[in-house]
Symmetry: C3
Subunit: 207 residues, 3 copies
């Protein structure tokens, strides 16, 4: 791969972890928590999804050997603590989170494929990487998890990871497949943010 | 082991994962979720307990290399989405879940013993394998977990895994020990379903 | 290391697991659960933090090969079941839990450093080891987790693990660094218990 692209990907990786971390700190801010709790939520949200991916794949957990990931989360927590978070900046964070979600759905699936997992488990791995940090955040914060809202969120990760895995299966190289997958995931998320897209709920009756 | 028995066990394994997955989809149905959430809950409930077992034992996670397990969960989610779930079928599912619970308490303990774990941790592994998928489902669905109900559920897994491990310790071969353990677990669960068996609660006062 | 100190540390380890386990059984007692649920909560609270640490570090999970840890948890559950838990004894348990918290923040960080992790991830590992059993207990018991209370708890683990890692970085041997770290952690926790110390909450407004 082009040296500069590889370099950009590493930065994107840190940026995505920091953005996810910031959403964790935001959850702490909503409840007026102290700085330690800010850091805890930022760390667990920022690295949670990738941690689960690495555990499931039997790979070394990515933030243990490179402390920069935790530092990125704690910095994000500190920034939110110091600057507060006005409504405008929350909006920015929402969009950055969409970028992270899109990027991570592809990154997670790519890592699983690279380690030899079949297509379907690799897709699931992409979805978990992108979404699980937020799920842990919501469970620990005692908030209704993103899983339980009708908002389209997990679906974007399914689209991104699924498209990437399918295009790779048809022989497309990693970079275009990744860009298309992440682009589609971001597009769906953008539609959900801007126009409140939702999928139809279960039509049946359960009794 | 007899070839046909080994074959039957593999099918039982997939069937148990699918049934657990269906109970996850059912949790999604109760809240009128969309199809993606159905799939997410089915997958996490279906493979959750076995995933934890494999992580704890340091074994490769069972569904990564064989995509059929995830496919079984997603199929179960689709079936429930398409057919709805009348009260009669929920009853069927309750009984199938009891079969899965009984089978998995033995399967989990057997895998732990095979990997060289001592008796007590192997029992615990059987209990976790059988119950943890449902526990994760309830935590993520923001429902009161099966742990917190007075209903006998975890106890069945304790009976199944415990009996299996003890009988193996006395030198009984795996197949009869497994059948006795799973049979006893199923029997206890059947009693709980049919006659609302419960164990006595903590008699003391905590203040 | 002195033979007797090594021996004392092993006992401290079992004692800490038993005390954490007892706090799990206490959560079960508050809701009048049955004996099986007592055991489940005791086990998951007692070994939960160390389990997460070992999984993240890629080390064999500590209680799989040595069944004494689970036995310590189950014994703690049984003791609380049989003796009940008056207000006086709850107070004792609170202080023992503070000792366990202090000890475990150092133990977790030391294990991570010994396995070659950098300073920051090792600190985080100490915090997770000390706190995560309690976090899982609260999530499964559907109670407000210790993370969400204003009470100083996680902070003590941050102090203990942080001080230990920093002192080790300055070349202090493990034993004095551990004693200072654990002592400071215990001191902070004691202040929180006796005088309701809290950290200032997030001063900003989030809208």
């Amino acid at each position: 791969m082009d040296e500069r692209i590889a370099h950009a990907l590493v930065w994107l990786d840190y940026a995505a972890v920091a953005v996810f971390g910031a959403t964790g700190a935001l959850a702490a801010a909503r409840r007026k928590h102290d700085i330690v709790t800010f850091g805890f939520f930022a760390a667990i949200t920022g690295v949670g999804g990738g941690t689960l991916r690495d555990l499931l794949l039997g790979a070394p957990v990515f933030w243990i050997d490179r402390w920069g990931y935790l530092a990125a989360c704690l910095t994000a927590a500190l920034v939110i603590w110091l600057t507060g978070l006005g409504r405008g900046r929350q909006r920015v964070l929402l969009w950055l989170d969409a970028v992270g979600l899109a990027a991570y759905s592809v990154v997670g699936a790519a890592k699983a494929l690279a380690l030899g997992a079949p297509a379907l488990p690799s897709m699931v791995m992409g979805v978990l990487t992108a979404c699980f940090g937020g799920v842990i955040r919501d469970v620990l914060a005692h908030e209704e998890s993103v899983l339980l809202k009708r908002e389209i969120y997990v679906t974007c990760a399914v689209v991104g990871a699924g498209l990437f895995v399918i295009l790779r299966g048809f022989g497309l190289p990693g970079l275009p497949a990744g860009l298309i997958g992440a682009g589609a995931a971001f597009g769906v998320r953008a539609g959900a943010i801007l126009w409140n897209w939702t999928l139809p709920g279960f039509p049946g009756r359960e009794d």
